[in-house]
C-alpha cells in the first residue's frame, strides 16, 4: 500500500497516517511531485524547534537535575554529542537510514546502502516524499529534520550516565551507538523497505526509534558503567529545579516540531499531532502530580515536569495516530506507570539511572508504543478504519516491534560501551568524580560568585 507510494523517493519520515490502495495507484501514475512552499516552511520551522529541544531544552532539563559540580559537563555532553550526531548523520547516517535500498532483499530491511554518504547526489531540487500523493518537500529539509532526531536521541541516552562518564568515552560511544543502533532502527521503523515498517508498525514521531531506543540503551549503559560514588546513600538532590522547569518548557514547545513536523506537511495530520501534543502532555503533567498525592506526598514541581515529559514521550508514537481523548487516556496511564518505575522500581532494583532516562523515556515509550496500537482504532476515536479485530492485529505488530527494538538497542549499547571502555577507560577517576566533572573534565565551574 503506502510502502510502494513512498519507495519512489526513497525517503519518508513517520508512519503511515491514512492510506488506501486506490490512493497509492494514483501516486504511481503521478508525474513529478510538487513542492509546496508552505510545507517546506513548516518543516524548516519544525527542524529548528527540534534543535531547540536539544540546546538549550534538554541541556537545561538534564543540567538542572544534576549536582552543581556537574552542571557544565551535562550541558557540554548534551551539546557535543548533538553536534557530533549532525556530522555523522551527513557522513553516513542519512544514507544508512534513508538512502537507496541494498539489492539484497534481506539486508535492505535493516539498513540502506551508502550511495548517499556525505549526501552524495542530493541537490537543491532533490525531493523527499510526504504522505500525500504527489506532494514532496526538498530532500535537504528532510535530511535536516531527521538529523535533529538522531541528535536528540543520543543526547537523551546520556541522562543515565552523567556525573561519572568520561567526555572522551561519551563521544566514542555516541559515534558507535548511532551507527549500530540508531540508524538501523530508524531505517527499520521509518524507511519504506524497513522491517517493522513492512509489518505495519505505527510510530508517528519516534516513540520506538527515539524513546524506547534511548531509554533501553540508557539502562544498559548505566548498568555497565556502574553507580555514582555514594549512590544511593548520599543525598543527590537536583541542583536547580528552576533550570529543569525552563528546560521542560522548551522541550514542550519544541516537541510541536517533533510531533506535528512528523506529518511532513502543514496539514490536518500535523494539526491532529499538534492537538494531541497539547492535551496528552497536559494530562501527563497533572497525572504525575495526582500519583504523588496517592503515594502520600505533596504534588511537586519536579513531579509536574516529569509528568510533562512522560506525556510528551507517550504521545509521540500516537500523535497523528490517535484522537485527543485517546491521547489523554494514554498519557495519563503512562504517567502512572512511569511514576511507579521511577519512584518504586528503580530503588528496588538499585540501578543508578541518574536522570531517569529509562524510567521516563524507556518505560513511557513502551506504554506509548503499545498504547498506540489501541488508541489508533476507530472504536476509540482514532484515525484508523479498523474494527476491534484490527486493533488486536495492530497490537501484535506493536509488541513485536517494541520487543525487537529492546533487544537490538541492548545488544548494540553493550557493544558500543565495551569499545568505549577499551579505548578510554569509560569512567573518570574517583578524584574527578568527587571534585565534579566540570573542573575535572572541562576545567571550568558553572557558577562563579
Amino acid at each position: 500500500m503506502i510502502r510502494k507510494l513512498l519507495c519512489g523517493a526513497g525517503a519518508l519520515g513517520a508512519s503511515l497516517f491514512v492510506a488506501t490502495a486506490a490512493w497509492a495507484q494514483d501516486a504511481a501514475a503521478a508525474a513529478a511531485p510538487t513542492v509546496d512552499k508552505g510545507d517546506s516552511a513548516w518543516m524548516m520551522t519544525s527542524t529548528l524547534l527540534v534543535l531547540m529541544m536539544i540546546v538549550p531544552g534538554l541541556a537545561l532539563f538534564y543540567g538542572g537535575l544534576a549536582r552543581t559540580k556537574n552542571m557544565l559537563s551535562v550541558m557540554t555532553q548534551v551539546g557535543a554529542v548533538g553536534a557530533l550526531a549532525m556530522l555523522v548523520w551527513v557522513g553516513w547516517g542519512y544514507s544508512m537510514a534513508f538512502g537507496n535500498d541494498f539489492s539484497g532483499a534481506f539486508i535492505k530491511q535493516f539498513i540502506s546502502n551508502f550511495d548517499k554518504a556525505f549526501l552524495m547526489g542530493v541537490k537543491p531540487d532533490s525531493t523527499a516524499a510526504t504522505f500525500s500523493a504527489g506532494v514532496a518537500i526538498p530532500e535537504y529539509v528532510f535530511v535536516c529534520f531527521q538529523m535533529t532526531f538522531a541528535a536528540i536521541t543520543i543526547a537523551l541516552v546520556l541522562g543515565s550516565v552523567v556525573e561519572r562518564m568520561k567526555f572522551s568515552a561519551v563521544m566514542i560511544f555516541a559515534v558507535i551507538w548511532l551507527t549500530i543502533v540508531y540508524f538501523p532502527i530508524a531505517h527499520m521503523v521509518w524507511a519504506a523497505s524497513g522491517l517493522f515498517f513492512g509489518m505495519g508498525a505505527l510510530d508517528f514521531a519516534g516513540g520506538t526509534v527515539v524513546h524506547i531506543n534511548s531509554g533501553v540503551s540508557a539502562l544498559v549503559a548505566c548498568l555497565m558503567l556502574g553507580k555514582r560514588m555514594g549512590y544511593p546513600g548520599e543525598p543527590m538532590p537536583p541542583h536547580s529545579l528552576t533550570m529543569t522547569a525552563i528546560g521542560t518548557g522548551l522541550l514542550w514547545v519544541g516537541w510541536f516540531g517533533f510531533n506535528a513536523g512528523s506529518a511532513l506537511e502543514a496539514n490536518g495530520s500535523a494539526a491532529l499531532a499538534m492537538m494531541n501534543t497539547f492535551v496528552g502532555t497536559a494530562a501527563g503533567g497533572l497525572a504525575w502530580m495526582v500519583a504523588e498525592k496517592f503515594a502520600g506526598h505533596k504534588g511537586s514541581a519536579l513531579g509536574f515536569c516529569s509528568g510533562i515529559v512522560v506525556g510528551l514521550v507517550a504521545v509521540t508514537p500516537a500523535a497523528g495516530n490517535s484522537g485527543p481523548l485517546g491521547a489523554i487516556v494514554l498519557c495519563t496511564v503512562a504517567a502512572f506507570v512511569c511514576y511507579f518505575a521511577v519512584t518504586k522500581l528503580k530503588p528496588k532494583l538499585g540501578y543508578d539511572d541518574a536522570l531517569d532516562t529509562f524510567g521516563v523515556h524507556g518505560v513511557g515509550g513502551m506504554v506509548g508504543a503499545l498504547g498506540t496500537g489501541i488508541v489508533y482504532s476507530a472504536a476509540l476515536g482514532g484515525p484508523s478504519g479498523d474494527s476491534w479485530m484490527g486493533m488486536a492485529a495492530q497490537l501484535k505488530v506493536q509488541f513485536l516491534t517494541v520487543g525487537a527494538t529492546i533487544v537490538w538497542a541492548a545488544v548494540g549499547t553493550a557493544v558500543a560501551i565495551t569499545v568505549a571502555k577499551a579505548l578510554t577507560g569509560l569512567r573518570v577517576s574517583p578524584e574527578v568524580e568527587l571534585e565534579g566533572l566540570d573542573i575535572g573534565e572541562h576545567g571550568e565551574r558553572a557558577y562563579n560568585y
Partner: protein, 112 residues
Amino acid sequence: MKFIIAIIKPFKLDEVREALGAIGVAGMTVSEVKGFGRQKGQTEIYRGAEYSTNMLPKVKLEIAASDALAPQVVEAIQQAASTDSIGDGKIFVLDLASATRIRTGETGDTAL
C-alpha cells in the same frame, strides 16, 4: 559591656531590627547560618528519593551593648522574634572585655 548573640528565624529579622532600633541599639552584625536544635529538619522528595535535611536556615545577630542596655536588648529580641513555636531560636549573652572604634581609637561604651 555585654556581647549578645541571637539565633532567630530569618523572617523575623525586620521585626527584631525595628524593636532594637526603638530601644537605641546603634548597630549589629547579621549573618545567614544553618543549624539545628529541638526543631526537626525538613524532608525533601525528588522523584521518590527522600532526603531529610537536619540543618535549617537561621539568622545570627551579633550585638555589643553596654551593661545597662543589655537586659533590654535580650528582652526586645525575645519578644520580637517569638512565634510561640519550636525553632524560634536562642539568645546568648557573653561578657565583653573591650571594644574599639577603628576610625577614632575610642574604647569602651563610647565605641559602641
